[in-house]
């Protein structure tokens, strides 16, 4: 019944609009609002309110040739007289029809975003509002296409409009990597399935090199989906395979998973700096006194400071240091006890001749991308935080040096995006000032290094860091604090709360910021065969064609790759 009503009375529902492209579907008239708080549009009585949705687009005809383009941020029911809500009339069909649109009515809250000038191809940011009683229309596919589907160098189709799946939504990758970005979403919303093809396109289009700290071994060789389904990791995407280097921390795990890797990462005791340990202050519960003591030990023992610190046998120099109260013995042994957790990591060696970081940097500078797989250490937070900080700090130092050299005429370092999962562990307000990730997020693009934060708890990320994030891709979040945090540092962002709160739990995301002309809700592309095709060229392998045929015939997939 409702479906019939929707179709008969208001044929231009989202689904129908795709079929009647170009028709303008009037929704109502502007009755109030402001540039900052958004516009209020009184919905025409003929408009079926159920056919509207937050996240949809609206165009408003200006008094001149301008069209204002906005996003529906909320839909509310209102009445002329508050008594109607307290004492509704005894309704029959006639009375209800009389009241709707007169005494009671719907209001669309629309955040105006862009202005489309007649004769100008590019939408411009909005600086004014349309006047009272100007008519608002549902944006046509052509209008949405005009704004979001501009395909130029460095664009990536991240998904389709939720209103109309025929409209492609493109992300400007160059702007995406120019500043730090973020992918947020609660567990199971498809963050990794969204991030992996996004990074693959960054690599494919040579917009930047990518360094991925692959906590759960998803990005390198195989991405694990629901029901043990396996998808291709970056290394398996043919056209970028040679540009991706997989580094493992856990050779045993890589072998067990049959995941090929370029080399195993090892860290020698003498390569560790106190700053690397300082970044573990939170996860190892190191006190400030203990952190200061690290520097004292380093000053005393230089390259052997970790070896001495972790040694069970106190040599004379240590005893002297304790006797002279340079470090209190309680502090020293507590520090020793905590740092011994590092010893259990097989990738931390007493002796190594390999400079893994330099190898990674070389790969990055040559334009390749690196995935650091953590193997079983992905579940060990100290290991993850330690390695990510260890590598990133050194890469950042090298990039800073190169950038400064570039100012003197040297080569400019290639743009680098560092993708980091569970980012709140590095960017928590208490540690963001200590970790290199906080520094990178704040420094923005100064040194050609930016972050891609992948996290499910944006509320735990330092507000200053959040305010520096250029592009935010947010899947469904359920915690109020997380939803609020996503809009930290965004002017007028709070109006989009209801848009975010209404996202489906899978394959939908709200994208806002630097890489899109205005906030947009997308149905993200399904990662699988169609995406693989873009990385394999036009020719499918026989195995892939076989898998497609199997699906078309309705047969179940093999357990292997699809």
């Amino acid at each position: 019944m409702a479906d019939n009503l929707l179709s008969d009375r208001n044929p231009f529902t989202p689904a129908d609009r795709a079929r009647v492209s170009g028709r303008r579907d009037r929704l109502g008239i502007v009755v109030g609002g402001s540039l900052n708080e958004g516009l209020d549009i009184k919905i025409d009585r003929e408009t079926i309110i159920e056919g509207l949705a937050v996240g949809s687009y609206v165009t408003i005809d200006g008094q001149t040739d301008r069209r204002f383009f906005g996003l529906v941020t909320d839909i509310s029911l209102d009445s002329v007289d508050a008594n109607i809500q307290r004492m509704p009339p005894a309704l029959d069909e006639y009375i209800a029809q009389v009241y709707r649109g007169t005494a009671v009515y719907g209001i669309l809250h629309v955040k105006p975003m862009l202005v489309l000038e007649a004769g100008s191809p590019d939408p411009r940011p909005i600086r004014t509002v349309p006047t009272h009683f100007t008519a608002a229309y549902r944006a046509t596919p052509e209008e949405v296409h005009e704004i979001f589907a501009v395909e130029d160098q460095g664009s990536y189709q991240i998904g389709q409009s939720v209103d109309d799946e025929s409209i492609k939504i493109n992300l400007n990758l160059e702007q995406f990597v120019e500043r730090s970005s973020a992918v947020f979403g609660r567990s199971g919303t498809g963050k990794t399935f969204l991030t992996l093809p996004l990074l693959a396109n960054v690599i494919k289009q040579k917009v930047a090199s990518v360094l991925v700290f692959d906590m759960h071994n998803d990005y390198g060789y195989t991405l694990k989906g629901d029901k043990s389904k396996k998808y291709k990791g970056l290394k398996q995407l043919a056209s970028i395979s040679s540009s991706v280097v997989v580094v493992t921390l856990d050779e045993e795990s890589s072998r067990a998973r049959h995941a090929s890797y370029e080399f195993a990462l090892t860290i020698g005791y003498d390569q560790i700096e106190p700053e690397d340990i300082e970044s573990l202050q939170g996860v190892l519960s190191l006190s400030d006194v203990q952190v200061n003591a690290l520097y004292e030990v380093k000053r005393k023992f230089q390259r052997n400071w970790i070896r001495n610190l972790l040694s069970d046998e106190n040599d004379a120099d240590v005893q002297e240091m304790l006797d002279k109260k340079q470090i209190m013995s309680g502090t020293y042994f507590a520090m020793q006890r905590k740092l011994k957790r590092l010893l259990k990591f097989s990738f931390v060696k007493e002796q190594t001749t390999d400079d893994a970081v330099q190898r990674i940097v070389n790969q990055l500078l040559e334009g390749r991308s690196v995935v650091v797989e953590f193997g079983r250490y992905g579940n060990d937070l100290p290991a993850y935080v330690f390695v990510a900080n260890y590598i990133t700090r050194r890469i950042h130092e090298k990039y800073v040096a190169m950038k400064e050299a570039a100012e003197g005429g040297g080569a400019e370092p290639h743009q680098l995006v560092i993708a980091v999962e569970e980012a709140h562990k590095f960017l928590d307000p208490s540690v963001a000032g200590l970790t290199i990730f906080g520094t990178i997020a704040r420094e923005l693009r100064k040194y050609n290094v930016t972050l891609l934060i992948v996290d499910q708890r944006p509320s735990q990320i330092d507000a200053e860091v959040m305010s520096q994030i250029g592009t935010r891709i947010t899947c469904a979040l359920s915690d109020e604090k997380d939803i609020n945090a996503v809009f930290t540092g965004m002017s007028g962002g709070s109006q989009l709360r209801s848009v975010l709160a209404s996202l489906d739990s899978k394959q939908q995301a709200l994208i806002m910021g630097h890489a899109v002309p205005m906030p947009v809700v997308v149905k993200t592309r399904e990662y699988g065969q169609d995406v693989y095709m873009e990385f394999t060229g036009a020719v499918r392998s026989s195995a892939e064609q076989h898998a497609i045929n199997q699906r078309r015939l309705g047969r179940s997939d093999d357990e292997g790759l699809i």
Partner: protein
């Protein structure tokens, strides 16, 4: 057909006397018109009261209490030339033939003893194409406003073909809602008077 003549008038209303068969007397809420041949103008009004007066000698009073009043005496009284007095609220005018109807007070009141005609269905439908006269009725005094409006709207509904009745009823309801939005109880009461007065072809519910 002339149904009566103007007895007295002012800008807002007039009273006409009639002595026609009971079946031809216009009813409460009906639209009537009076032409001014000198100005070629027409004044429209809604009947809001019909009074039956006694003759000067008070015969009706006497007969009403007489214990042995004969039928021929009652019939004699009824055949006397005592007019019904019909009160009309001015709601619109046409300043010249061919000009559009304006819903508002006429520039001049009707002239005494000018003829009054009932408006037929087509004239009623034309007059009620606009609903600005609702405000005049709502602002009038000494008039049963809500009943008059409901009756006038019902007449407007009946003046239309069945296929257009619901549309008109809804338009009237919405205009009332606009005017009475701050008085929800009164609005609801008025709308209740209009329920089931139109043929709803979409649900095949024939009413009235």
């Amino acid at each position: 057909m002339i149904v009566g003549k103007v007895l007295h008038a002012n800008m807002r209303s007039f009273v006409f006397g009639t002595r026609i068969p009971e079946s031809d007397v216009p009813t409460f809420g009906a639209l009537v018109q009076t032409h001014n041949p000198y100005r070629q103008s027409t004044i429209y009004g809604l009947i809001y009261d019909i009074a039956i007066n006694d003759d000067e000698r008070g015969m009706a009073k006497l007969l009403s209490v007489a214990e042995d009043a004969r039928d021929q005496d009652i019939e004699w009284l009824r055949n006397q030339l005592i007019p019904l007095e019909v009160s009309v609220l001015c709601v619109g005018y046409r300043s010249q033939a061919g000009q559009p109807i304006r819903q508002g007070l006429p520039p001049q009141p009707p002239i005494a003893l000018h003829g009054i005609e009932s408006c037929d269905a087509s004239e009623t439908a034309v007059f009620t194409e606009r609903l600005d006269f609702f405000r005049l009725v709502l602002e009038s005094r000494d008039v049963p406003i809500d009943e008059l409006l409901a009756a006038a709207i019902r007449n407007g509904i009946e003046a239309r073909p069945k296929g257009r009745q619901k549309e008109f009823a809804l338009a009237c309801g919405r205009e009332l809602a606009r005017l009475l939005v701050k008085d929800g109880l009164r609005l609801e009461g008025l709308l209740r008077r209009l329920q089931y007065t139109y043929a709803d072809e979409s649900t095949a519910r024939i009413v009235n």
